[in-house]
Symmetry: C2
Subunit: 541 residues, 2 copies
């Protein structure tokens, strides 16, 4: 290893390999390439790309990366040691990782004697030979090797001598990093601290002088809700590489969450991981990855979640506005997040006033409409509305109470008709809508792939001659939540619709027992709010 | 405090107070009562019920609990100290917590000098008087007092002398528990360890002998993803009360998650919190609470999540079946959870065989239909199906491939018609369905509150004469997820439908561009699988 400042850490991302083991997560090659390039921009030095020996999609991924390489990061293929009683050059999976054409490779081997004898069904000596041969072979082929000691902590607790032998074997064979893995996620921080100290002590005794021995890494899982805490404990005990995934994705309960690890290490403990301008990108990177893998972002995620700096309780809101330090452990901007004042059932008047201010409306707490807004909001929330995620609908409610809501159009009714013939792929949805615009009555109909798409199309057809700018509005997301789900299909439906124009995105909400009625109302409010933004901008121009 | 074994800990649940601060969570009084009784069964000794001085709904909650009291647990109201320059008997909010009629009360006060001067805008001396007066008054009224030292860790770091004065004031006034709160969630475990040790040391010096001083509690938040780790660190440094919430619900990133804390403390560190038979109820209690507060359970939650003991990767599945210890940090049954073999895109043949076995079907890996099932599953997953959460649909697919799927009925087509007149609350949905049962063609129509309810009703009307048992089936949940959400209302929709009969629950899945077509298919498969279960049971009987 090159000499570096003692506070330098190396991050190793395994979102594309261990992360994809998460139940419910699946990615295409194209998705993996987009994520790899984004992690590279974020300044992650090692990006584990996959296991080409086990998955043909991963072979293709490494080939495509050779054509369109990363700027800074090392992309790393992952593979097990050779199987018992084979020779490394004869192992197809080792040939596959050489064909990946990377500078670095990661090899995992068994540390726990039980896994050797009961899992691999081979001898403890043969397992050592498997580790040594594989690493030596890869080094002889010009690769730099990271060694992942699988089940390290459990293995060490059961048989420390054997576990340490596996590490010294890997070290002697040429591995530059020895990564201690808590594969089952059962270890607690005080154990991690002790065991990492033991390992460091043992390796420096074996090798005489610390500067020539390989460095220690840590790879943790979240089964005890300790993945991030265990990684911190290892770093504080001397580990220099930290493995984890974006958003903590991973098998079972996930891997160590890099989105929490990086700010803890860098902002709180003074370690150096990525550049400051990259840290400002952390929230955006977290949301980018969740969007690409098509999982809803965890709104309550530390540091990067939408609620991480959201203030709801009445006492908090007035205090945080006076002095953010009193209710925030870091400044949200340091990780690219933002403070939010939340509108909710519990919110007092001061929240409503703070929220109004974000829409450029200065309301006094004695203004009669301020209480009226709060009242109306609470009524709607009691039937299932939620304005926390639908600020455009809240703005419309507020403009309404203040007499500032413009009536761009009036809907008089709609009809939807769907017809499905069994065995035919194309279903047919037809929507008819009655609208009044500027005193003119319009009846319009349109078809769509489903009833909501048909409704949206009919409404746009009816309005576009009057408001040509709606052609630039787009529906970007459509979420459905069933309230009191215990009553099945007769339950109430809450629909959130996200729309955008060229500059902005906004979200609207509606609730109904009829999914189409709720969808329709949220779509209509989305168009209305878009028009409002358009005419506000025109008035300011 | 009564003398107890040194490994005894007191759990303090604040789901009903701090937990309800979570963005997106709201509960009725009825919900709160159901949760309180469930926590009582789980063996939680202290249950914080709310803040009656600040919230009228909480007053009502305590009154209702007086009529229908808990069996074991102490229910505790929460309140701040008196305001500056008032007298406790004149404080309406202190009268409100006395009116709650409980044995114990929790009072929170300021520990951080900055919060006193900048937040409360009063003097440091007055804050000490507020703490002392309030606790003395409540003790004089026969209450036992828990003192929550808000912002303890931040306050102690800034001004340790003053922070310690607030604690000794509370102790002298009669508080039996001093709870150190990491209100902003920014503290790391090594700091918690150090500070709790300092506090213990200081209090025993002040009071001469340990046995007469109050005991220490810990209250942590998850803003650094450290809530559970910090609580463990405090306990290992001597704290005897642990505050947290079920599922870690709470403001911003949540509170310490009792569902992780309890098994870590009890199964790994040997502390005693709840009885063993209660620990077996942990998973059920977690899901009960998420159901009552109407939030989707976190499938990846440690210990209690549906994925916490799920095995997906090919190498794991065969190993875990041989020896569970090799891939599981605890036995899932200890916390009332179960091991699951997951069906997914990545799964190899061995997963399919293991899954078939759970449906009582022994397949050999050379059975030609085994590969066919895997193939069909992968095809459907590539267009957006997910069988991980829809095992009934997977079973139907499997029976189909094996030629074992009975055709109870055949659907030939359906039509749905919805009509909404603006301003009228009742929308009208009408469904028509064509079905063939035992060679007989049936045309049936029904109305419903929405299109899916109408479809469900028409289908049941058409089938109930042939299969009277479907009257006992119920649709219990209906979930909609938009795939590739970026294309708005024209996106593909995945629908999950959960059904039940008297004994069992099952889930079916369908995907379509048309939300009604997907809903209809999932509803139909739900009925079909219910019939299958019925006739299987009959065959065995």
């Amino acid at each position: 290893m090159t000499k570096t400042p003692s506070n330098q850490l190396w991050l190793y991302d395994t979102t594309l390999r261990d992360g994809t083991q998460r139940e419910g997560l699946s990615v295409s090659i194209e998705d993996k390439l987009r994520i790899a390039h984004r992690l590279d921009q974020l300044g992650i030095p090692f990006i584990e790309g996959g296991w080409p020996g086990a998955n043909p999609k991963d072979v293709e991924f490494f080939w495509q990366l050779q054509e369109n390489p990363l700027k800074q990061a090392e992309v790393v293929p992952f593979c097990s040691t050779r199987r018992p009683h084979t020779k490394p050059p004869d192992e197809p999976m080792l040939q596959a990782i050489l064909a990946a054409g990377t500078r670095w490779v990661t090899i995992f081997g068994k540390s726990w004697d039980l896994h050797v004898t009961a899992g691999l069904k081979t001898s403890l000596e043969e397992n050592l030979a498997m580790i040594g041969d594989t690493i030596e072979y890869l080094c002889s082929q010009g690769r730099r090797v990271i060694y992942d000691a699988e089940h390290w902590f459990d293995g060490y607790k059961q048989n420390p001598d054997y576990a340490l032998q596996t590490l010294t074997t890997a070290m002697t064979a040429g591995a530059e990093w020895l990564v201690l893995c808590d594969t089952n996620g059962g270890t607690l921080p005080h154990e991690v601290t002790q065991i990492v100290q033991d390992v460091n002590c043992h390796l420096s005794m074996v090798n005489g002088q610390w500067s020539t021995t390989p460095q220690i890494g840590i790879h943790t899982h979240n089964d005890s809700e300790m993945a991030v805490a265990n990684a911190l404990a290892a770093v504080m005990a001397g580990a220099k590489m930290v493995q984890g995934t974006i958003n903590g994705y991973g098998e079972r309960c996930g891997n160590a969450n890099l989105c929490s690890l990086i700010p803890n290490l860098q902002l709180k403990l003074g370690y150096s991981c990525i550049a400051q301008h990259q840290l400002h990108q952390l929230t955006a990177a977290s949301r980018f990855v969740s969007e690409v893998v098509n999982l809803a972002p965890d709104e309550h995620a530390p540091f990067v979640g939408r609620s991480a700096f959201a203030h709801k309780g009445g006492i908090h809101v007035s205090a945080v506005e006076r002095n953010p330090l009193t209710y925030e452990h870091i400044q949200p901007e340091q990780v690219g997040n933002t403070r939010r004042i939340v509108i909710s059932e519990q919110s007092g008047l001061s929240n409503v006033l703070a929220k109004a201010r974000t829409f450029g409306i200065e309301l006094d707490k004695d203004h009669p409409q301020a209480r009226q807004i709060l009242q109306r909001m609470k009524e709607l929330e009691s039937v299932g509305y939620q304005f926390e995620a639908a600020e455009a609908s809240f703005a419309l409610l507020m403009y309404d109470a203040l007499g500032l809501r413009q009536q761009f159009f009036e809907i008089n009714g709609f009809q939807v008709h769907c017809d499905l013939i069994q065995g035919k792929e194309t279903t047919h949805s037809l929507a008819t809508i009655k609208v009044t615009v500027n005193g003119e009555n319009i009846l319009e109909a349109a078809e769509g792939t489903g009833p909501v798409a048909a409704l949206d199309a009919a409404l746009r057809k009816a309005l576009v001659n009057f408001y040509p700018q709606i052609a630039t509005f787009e529906l970007t997301d459509y979420k459905v939540r069933i309230l009191n789900g215990n009553t099945g299909t007769a339950a109430k439906t809450r629909v959130l619709v996200e729309s955008r124009n060229i500059q902005q995105r906004w979200t609207t909400v509606a609730v109904s027992k009829n999914i189409l009625a709720a969808s329709y109302q949220a779509v209509v409010e989305g168009l209305e709010y878009g028009l409002l933004l358009h005419f506000q901008a025109e008035n300011y121009a």
